[in-house]
Point group: C2
Chain length 361, copies 2
C-alpha cells in the first residue's frame, strides 16, 4: 500500500523529455476535452477555502478538492505569498497535489503543484482566448511579468498567431528579465516589447493581467483607450478584495468566470451583480458556436482557478510519469496487517512492514 | 527546499524504540498542556468539510486544517470507509498529515495519520475521562471493538485505575480478537470480559462507543440500567446522521463536545438543542476544578475529532523523528532557481535541481 511520489526531478525529466511545447499542447487539449465532456453529475467541486493571514507576512493557504467520476479525489493545497520571490527566493504560488482513492481513502499520489498550476492557469486562458478573442488577434499585452506571465504567453501563443507582445510590470527589473525568461519561445516569430501601460492597454487585442496587486489596491490599469474588441484574461484576482480590472470595463464586457461561486467571492466578479455575469467558461467551451458573436466585443475571462484544471494537470503528469517509469513508491500509511489492530507494529519484526519500500530515488 | 517524509517504518521504529506506553503517556500529557495553554487568538480551526459518497462503497473524505500560532498550518486529510476491513483488509479510518510553513507555503512534513488518529482519539477520551468520570471508576465498557477501541482502552488505562473491562461488538468475531489485540497491556492487572450489551451498559463506570453504526441506525445501546454516575466517551459519531448515544441519556447528561460547531453537525450534539450542550472539553480541562461536581452524575464527551489533537500528535511524532534521526528528505516542489521562471528546468542540466535528494530510505 505505497504512495507514489513524483519528485521535482521527475517533473523536470518529463518536461525535458516531452518538451515544453508538447506538454503545453497536451495540457490545452486535455483541458479542452475535459471541459467539452464535463458533466456536473460526475464531479463535485466545492468553492476553495483557506486561511488568510498577515503574519509573519501577508499570505494565503487554501485547499481545492475535487471528487472526480466516483473514482478519485484530488486535493490541491496552494499557498499565495506575494513576498516570496523578494524575501525567500521562492515562487509566489507554491502548491502540492494529492490523489486519494475513493474506494478506500488511500493516498495514492503526491506531486508538486507549482509548475502544474502555472501550466493549467495558462491553458485555461488559452481556452478562453480561443473561444472569446477576435480570430485575427495579433497583439498580446501582459500586465505583471512574474511566473504566471510566462505560461500565459506560452499557452496563448499556442492558440493565437501572435506577432507582438507588449509587456509591463510595476517593477521595471521584472519586465526586463521577462525577455530572457521566455527565450524558450525564440523559434516563434514574436516580437517582445517593453511598453508603458497606456500604450499596452490601447494596443492589445488580448490582455492578460497576472499581478500581485494588494487587496483593495486595484485596478491595475485605467479604463482609457482599450480597443472595443479586446479580450481580457484576468488571472491575478484570487482573494476577497483583490481585483485587477476596472469596474467600467467589466460592466460593458461579457464576463465569463471559470467557477461562478468562487469568482463572486475572490475574482473580478466581486465587482459585479449576478445578472451582469455571463456563463462559466465550461459552458462557453461546450457551446462555442453559440457564443461566437461575442468575439467582436469586449470579453473578460475571470480566472480564479478551478479544481478541474488541477485534476486534468495531475492526470497528465501521472500519465507521463507512468510512461517514463518515473517517481518513487514509498510506504507512508501505517496499515497494520490486522486492520483492527493499530498497534501490531510492536509485535512485528523490524522491516516486516506491510508496504515494502521500492524507492528508486 | 525538501519535504520531510516520515515513512510508516519510521513510525514503527519510533513506537518500538520509545515504547507504546511512553508514546501514549506523552500524547496525553502534550494534549493536556496544549488544552491548558489553548488560546483562541492563536489558533484558527475551521469545522472540517469533505465529500460524503455511496459509490463505489459508502465513504467520506474530509480535510481538517489548523492554523497554529502564526507559524504553521497542519492539514489532516482523513477517510472513513467502514467496509475497508472486510473488503480491502485496510483500516476504516485512513489518513495523512501535512505541515505547511506559513511564511512561504512550503510543504515541510508528511506523515501517516492512521496511527496518530487512533492515538490522539484515545488521548482525548483520556482527558475527558480524567476530568469528568467518578474518581473511583474501576469498570470500563467498550461498545465496538475495532481499531479505535484499542487506543481508547490503552489511553483510559493511563488515567484510571481500571480493574475490569467489558467488551461488546455487534460481530462476536471482533470482540474475540480484541483480547489478543490488547495483549500489549498484559502487564496491567485488568480483566477483559466479553459481555452482552445490557450487562455491559449496567456495569460500566466509564463507557466508550466507537462503532461503525450506519447513518440513522443509532443508538447503539438502550437507555436501560445505565448507572447514574457513568461517564461516556462517544467516539463513533463523525458524520451527519450518525449517532451512538440514546437521546434520553444525552438529555439528562452533562454533554461536553470537543468542538461545538462540528459536534452539532456530526456528533451526538446533532440530537440536542444548543442550550442543552455544555462547554467544550478545552474549557473543562482549563477549569477542571469548576466542573468537579459533575463527576457524580452522567457525563458525555462528544468526540468528533478536533484538529488541535492532530496538530499535537504530529508535533510529537516530528519531535521523535528528529531525535532519532528518522524520515527521508525529498525534493517535491518544483522551485526554480529564478522564482519568476517556472520553466527554468529546461535550461538547467539534469540533476542540477534546487533541492538535492538526501533520501536515507
Amino acid at each position: 500500500m505505497n504512495t507514489k511520489i513524483i519528485l521535482n526531478d521527475d517533473v523536470y525529466k518529463i518536461v525535458r523529455h516531452v518538451g515544453l511545447d508538447a506538454v503545453m499542447d497536451e495540457m490545452i487539449s486535455d483541458l479542452t476535452a475535459a471541459m467539452i465532456g464535463f458533466d456536473h453529475e460526475k464531479y463535485t467541486i466545492p468553492v476553495r477555502q483557506g486561511f488568510q493571514y498577515s503574519k509573519p507576512d501577508p499570505g494565503l493557504l487554501e485547499w481545492m478538492p475535487i471528487l472526480a467520476a466516483d473514482t478519485q479525489i484530488t486535493v490541491k493545497i496552494v499557498g499565495y505569498h506575494p513576498l516570496n520571490p523578494e524575501v525567500h527566493k521562492l515562487p509566489t504560488i507554491m502548491s502540492s497535489l494529492y490523489t486519494y482513492d475513493m474506494a478506500t481513502g488511500h493516498l495514492s499520489t503526491i506531486v508538486d503543484g507549482i509548475l502544474l498550476t502555472a501550466l493549467r492557469t495558462g491553458a485555461a486562458s488559452a481556452l478562453a482566448t480561443k473561444v472569446l478573442a477576435k480570430t485575427d488577434s495579433r497583439t498580446l499585452g501582459l500586465i505583471g511579468c512574474g511566473a504566471q506571465a510566462v505560461t500565459q504567453l506560452h499557452a496563448i501563443s499556442k492558440v493565437v498567431d501572435l506577432d507582438k507582445v507588449l509587456i509591463y510590470d510595476i517593477d521595471p527589473a521584472v519586465s526586463k528579465t521577462f525577455i530572457s525568461r521566455t527565450r524558450f519561445m525564440d523559434h516563434r516569430d514574436i516580437e517582445l516589447i517593453e511598453s508603458d501601460l497606456a500604450h499596452l492597454v490601447g494596443s492589445a487585442d488580448i490582455l492578460c493581467t497576472q499581478t500581485s496587486v494588494g487587496v483593495n489596491d486595484g485596478p491595475v490599469f485605467d479604463d482609457h483607450g482599450l480597443q472595443p474588441w479586446t479580450h481580457i484574461n484576468a488571472v491575478g484576482a484570487d482573494m476577497p478584495g483583490k481585483t485587477e480590472i476596472p469596474n467600467t470595463v467589466l460592466n460593458r464586457s461579457f464576463v465569463c468566470p471559470d467557477f461562478l461561486a468562487q469568482a463572486v467571492e475572490e475574482g473580478e466578479c466581486q465587482q459585479l451583480s449576478r445578472d451582469a455575469i455571463g456563463p462559466e467558461l465550461v459552458e462557453v467551451v461546450k457551446n462555442s458556436k453559440r457564443y461566437e458573436s461575442l468575439r467582436t466585443g469586449n470579453t473578460v475571462f475571470d480566472s480564479t482557478g478551478w479544481a478541474l484544471e488541477d485534476h486534468v494537470a495531475m492526470e497528465l503528469i501521472k500519465r507521463y510519469a507512468d510512461e517514463l517509469d518515473l517517481g518513487v513508491s514509498l510506504p507512508i500509511e501505517c496499515v497494520s496487517i490486522d486492520p483492527k489492530n493499530p498497534y501490531d507494529m510492536v509485535s512485528r519484526s523490524p522491516g516486516d512492514g506491510v508496504g515494502e519500500s521500492t524507492a528508486k530515488a
